[in-house]
């Protein structure tokens, strides 16, 4: 099966600019996750979707981050305006459903904020 697709792979912006990341999960996977991974740390969950509904966005900085999964398939994560501390890799993952399922990750989108 095709893996989780993410784009762009790399993005460099200046602080206060905006950026958007796109994710296409594995076909048929109901659950989609966005994680933020700062260099040298483990991935931190930003938001989790079950189909097109949000089930957890408790760690999403909602003043600047937003995400949507309108048709329950692909998803976009937006940052506006970006801060220096947003420099990280943004990982998208998907799994079959709400139960015990393995997360399959994309390669990530590396953001550098100058």
């Amino acid at each position: 099966e095709a893996g989780v697709a993410q784009s762009p792979r790399y993005k460099i912006i200046e602080k206060r600019q905006s950026v958007a990341f796109w994710c296409n999960p594995i076909s048929g996977h109901a659950t989609l996750y966005w994680y933020q991974q700062i260099l040298g740390q483990g991935p931190k969950l930003l938001i989790q979707f079950q189909n097109n509904g949000v089930v957890d966005d408790s760690q999403l900085p909602k003043d600047r981050f937003s995400a949507e999964r309108l048709k329950g398939v692909d998803s976009t994560l937006k940052i506006q305006p970006a801060k220096l501390e947003d420099s990280a890799v943004y990982l998208c993952a998907s799994s079959r459903g709400a139960g015990a399922n393995v997360l399959t990750f994309g390669a990530g989108s590396r953001l550098t904020v100058l």
Binding site: T31, G40, Q41, S95, G99, A100, N101, L103, F105
Partner: protein, 116 residues
């Protein structure tokens, strides 16, 4: 690609030796545990998982041990190879069969360096 393990604890192992990577978790409600491997420039990749009703599970060259009493998890890699060099993360989740959604929380990771 840029390494994800610049500031992580590092374990250096000679090729052919066995590796043991340890992980302490904090949430007593966690019932499902997963080990992921992350190579430079890639997303984490599933290695092996274990549920709380087990204390040991074996895969191909890998074994996961779970001690719920002290909230400790370990990953053993037999006959470590250069291709095993990566950052290893343990992840935990509450009971996946509770009917609720699965929230997966990652630990800080350990960088494994295999010396040829």
């Amino acid at each position: 690609g840029e390494s994800v393990g610049l500031h992580l604890p590092t374990l250096s192992v000679q090729e052919g030796d066995n590796s043991i990577i340890n992980c302490a978790y904090s949430n007593s409600a966690s019932d499902y545990f997963i080990w992921y491997k992350q190579e430079s420039g890639k997303g984490p990749q599933f290695i092996i998982d274990i549920r709380s009703n087990m204390d040991k599970r074996q895969g191909q060259r890998v074994t996961v041990l779970l001690n719920k009493t002290v909230k400790h998890l370990s990953l053993q890699i037999a006959a470590t190879q250069p291709g095993d060099s990566a950052v290893y993360f343990c992840a935990e989740s509450p009971n996946p069969n509770s009917g609720g959604y699965q929230k997966v929380t990652f630990g800080t990771g350990t960088k494994l360096q295999v010396i040829p």
